[in-house]
Amino acid sequence: MKSVSRIAVVFCMMLFSTGLLARQLPEDPLDSVMWEAMAERFMPEGDIVFDERVRVMAPLSAENQFHVPITVDATALDDVVEIVAMADLNPIPLVMSLRPSEALAFVGFRLKLQQTSPIHVGVRTRDGVWHVGGAIVDAAGGGCTAPAAAHGNSNWMKTLGETRAFAGRDTDHSARMTLRMRHPMDTGLAAGIPAFYLNELAVRDDEGNILAEIDLYEPVSENPTLTLKPRVGPEATVLTVSSRDTEGNIFNFPLDVPAATGL
């Protein structure tokens, strides 16, 4: 009863804000009580379709609610402009948003879950349509409101931003890069600890052109791990990764990509 009335309220607000031309929302195959709210907040404009070409790979049951690995593969879609991930039942649902301007529509990351929750991923194509996929992950509680493990160590700030990264090849026109950066990714929900997280990351080619930009939010796991597939030529090159956290700390580094020969 409660959830029905909440949906009704959200739905009314939607009608109100978008007028009589409110788009038709497809029924959510994951049957999330938050589906309308997620669509309204994070995919505010454009048609929405559930699409099997948006593959969201996640464990059925999270072994660790602080680190739930998610892989999104939308490479079967053309002209992807943006990929947005949300964990419907987290106190802060928005996880990350990727703009893969010169990268494949692919991203791997880890997130924190406060409870068992549907994960929705919206992939917007150039025509404005959101293609949505998702998964439900069973999880023990508390992933977002416990202090980061880093705070067990009084000098955690000394290692802030330390990064391990590598780049390899799947094809001769793209690189596969993975990085893991030391950062507590504080959500602001643990008692006495303000929000403090890595919130911007960009990958550039050797001429400074942006290949991919990603906005990160509080639910991304401590010591964020990211996998991206930027488009590069077959020869060896050097990418530049630049990132910034909510306190204005800046972490920049070069990343060597080997030549495609020998694949």
């Binding site: 009084s154 000098n155 700030m157 802030l160 931003g161 330390e162 990064t163 391990r164 990264a165 590598f166 780049a167 390899g168 090849r169 799947d170 950066m181 504080d186 602001g188 008692a191 006495g192 303000p194 929000a195 403090f196 910034r244 909510t246 306190e247 204005g248 700390n249 800046i250 972490f251 920049n252 580094f253 990343l255 060597d256 990509v257 080997p258 020998g262 694949l263």
Partner: protein, 594 residues
């Protein structure tokens, strides 16, 4: 598949900057002219001190001695959380928005019409911060579309005034060596660099070196820096500029390397002389027998040319300080009428108990008069401004004691918390009086041996503070700067630790640790109005005009140095409860004329 593994240690914000977003001028932005004219414009408050001179005088007179009885609260805003502690902040006001800082390096933007929060910023502080005297902050600065404030881990942060998002953040000092920052930044105009944002530093109890830094407000890049201790080199445009003073001229040996002189209360600026005035803290360590000489420029006022960071003049109120008489107290520029002449003067009420008037163009001494009772450490001040020391009232040298561990203890007035501490006084253009929040107390103090160790307290002294009188410690005084005469006095049971505001309406406002915001008659000292805020007040009140009505605001929340260092004073303050709010008052419609 070939993979290349790379291990990368990445620099943090120290080495790499972000280009600030270039702001296009829109109506809401604060210009350097707005800041320079802040005192004359009653509709906003865009500087610490209600104008760059820091006079804390408002030309508003809608609120006056008659209608003050009708001043009522409009709203109160809680800083929330468990991080209460001392709230020493002065809010800023611009276009109907209040920007206010709080304990533990937090800041809020509040819609004045409703009292609702627009945004909150919480600095992510490291665990190892070393603030000596509570986790306070005294206020922000505003320019363009940004607001700025200093944090307890010795950083300065620029926030987007609309959203509270970090634009840049720069390091003032190494918090692990004892540096921190609590004062409001000062924004000044320059010909060579455009507007600059000036900060001091804190940490005089940890053997740091006082310094003033000037930065580009758009990017945070350092333009110049000026250490306060002789022997240290300044910088300009990324290169070494000049040495402060002459090495070993007034410091023997190598103690100047950790000589203190922290500029922990920030500075003021005078558009007439185009000089920035900073006070400097105590020399380190407290044990003065280890550092013979005047120890320049500790316990002094220095005038700095903002174009290049050079010291134009210095005046030492307590040379060779042995009592922790910091010289940081604000230097307020004012024009003094004396014997038919207008003198470009400046005044400061020192921790050491004397009220000094100097020529602000060249630092020449004009007068010094006591503003508290029974000063013991000096019998007066000579015609050059140098104290007439009482040698027997300097704590004894531990090296001359039988076991070499503790020098002779003496009782000195004022105590180390000062005849007046950080809390800013006000100057009325209406009465030509200064209104000084002072305290009548002394201390037992003795010296001990000490050596410098990074990040450890560097005192070499023991001490305990004692009230002089049974019935009061706090004393708000009206002082005529041309004679030094005390025109009236208001006595308060607990020590005063909040700033003062005076207005063209003939009112003097200050808060008390007992929780009252009070208003006095500027000519007689009569108490005209008070309001109980529910926790101690240790901050500076403001007033401004909005939609034709005059508002008053005060930040509340007991804390600061007194409860941490208060000695016997604890008797009158130990029952006071913490808080963390800002209160806003106005006269309800229809009552202003009654």
């Amino acid at each position: 598949m070939k993979r290349k593994h790379t291990m990368l240690a990445v620099a943090s914000t120290l080495a790499l900057g972000v280009a600030g977003v270039c702001s296009t001028a829109v109506a809401a932005d604060v210009s350097i002219e707005d800041i320079m004219n802040d005192q004359a414009s009653g509709g906003d408050i865009v500087s610490y001190g209600l104008g760059p001179r820091g006079q804390r005088y408002s030309p508003l007179s809608t609120l006056n001695k008659e209608n003050i009885k009708n001043l009522y609260p409009v709203w109160s805003f809680s800083f929330g959380g468990e991080k209460q502690r001392g709230q020493e902040s002065q809010p800023l006001i611009k276009d109907g928005v209040m920007y206010v800082t709080g304990s533990y390096s937090r800041m809020w933007a509040i819609d004045i019409a409703t009292g609702e929060e627009l945004w909150q910023y919480d600095a992510r502080l490291p665990e190892g911060i070393l603030p000596c005297c509570d986790v306070v902050n005294r206020g922000a600065a505003i320019l363009g579309d940004k607001v700025f404030f200093g944090t307890l881990d010795a950083k300065i942060v620029a926030l987007d005034a609309k959203t509270g998002k970090v634009i840049w953040r720069k390091r003032i000092g190494d918090y692990e060596a004892g540096y921190s920052y609590t004062a409001a930044p000062l924004i000044v105009p320059t010909e060579a660099h455009g507007p600059l944002i000036l900060t001091g530093n804190s940490g005089g109890e940890f053997g740091i070196v006082g310094q003033v830094d000037a930065r580009n407000p758009d990017t945070g890049e350092l333009v110049w820096s000026r250490p306060t201790i002789e022997g240290h080199m300044g910088t300009l445009n990324g290169e070494e500029s000049t040495m402060t003073g002459k090495k070993n001229e007034t410091w023997a040996g190598d103690l100047w390397q950790n000589g203190g002189g922290a500029t922990w209360l920030g500075g003021t600026y005078d558009p007439d002389t185009q000089l920035a005035y900073f006070g400097t803290g105590n020399p380190a360590p407290w044990n003065s027998h280890l550092r013979p000489g005047d120890n320049k420029w500790t316990s002094a006022r220095i005038a700095i040319d903002p174009e290049n960071g050079e010291i134009v003049w210095g005046f030492q109120s307590t040379p060779h300080d042995g009592w922790d008489y910091d010289g940081v107290n604000e230097f307020i520029s004012f024009d003094m009428e004396k014997d038919g002449e207008t003198i470009k003067a400046g005044a400061t009420a020192d921790r050491n108990g004397f009220f000094y008037v100097l020529d602000r163009t060249n630092g020449e001494f004009i007068s010094a008069t006591p503003f508290v009772r029974d000063i013991t450490w000096a019998s007066g001040v000579d015609e050059n401004g140098r104290p007439l020391f009482n040698p027997e009232n300097r704590p004894g040298n531990p090296a001359e004691s039988a076991d070499g561990k503790k020098g002779e203890s003496i009782f000195a007035v004022p105590g180390f918390l000062g005849a007046k501490n950080w809390m800013p006084m006000a100057y009325s253009q209406k009465t030509s009086n200064f209104y000084i929040p002072s305290n009548e107390w002394g201390m037992d103090i003795w010296n001990e041996p000490i050596t410098y160790k990074k990040g450890a307290a560097y005192l070499g002294a023991g001490f305990t503070i004692k009230p002089l009188f049974d019935d009061y410690i706090g004393s708000l005084k009206a002082v005529d700067p041309s004679t030094g005469e005390i025109k009236w006095e208001y006595k308060n049971k607990a020590p005063l630790w909040g700033g003062v505001l005076t207005t063209a309406g003939g009112l003097v406002f200050t808060g008390t640790p007992e929780g009252y915001l009070k208003a006095f008659d500027d000519e007689t000292g009569e108490e005209l109005w008070k309001f109980q805020t529910g926790t101690g007040i240790v901050s500076s009140p403001i007033t401004w005009e909005q939609d034709g009505e005059q508002y008053v605001a005060i930040v509340t929340g007991w804390g600061g140095a007194v409860p941490l260092w208060g000695g016997e004073v604890a008797k009158v303050v130990s029952y006071l409860n913490q808080g963390g709010s800002v209160w806003v008052f106005k006269v309800p419609e229809g009552l202003a004329s009654r």
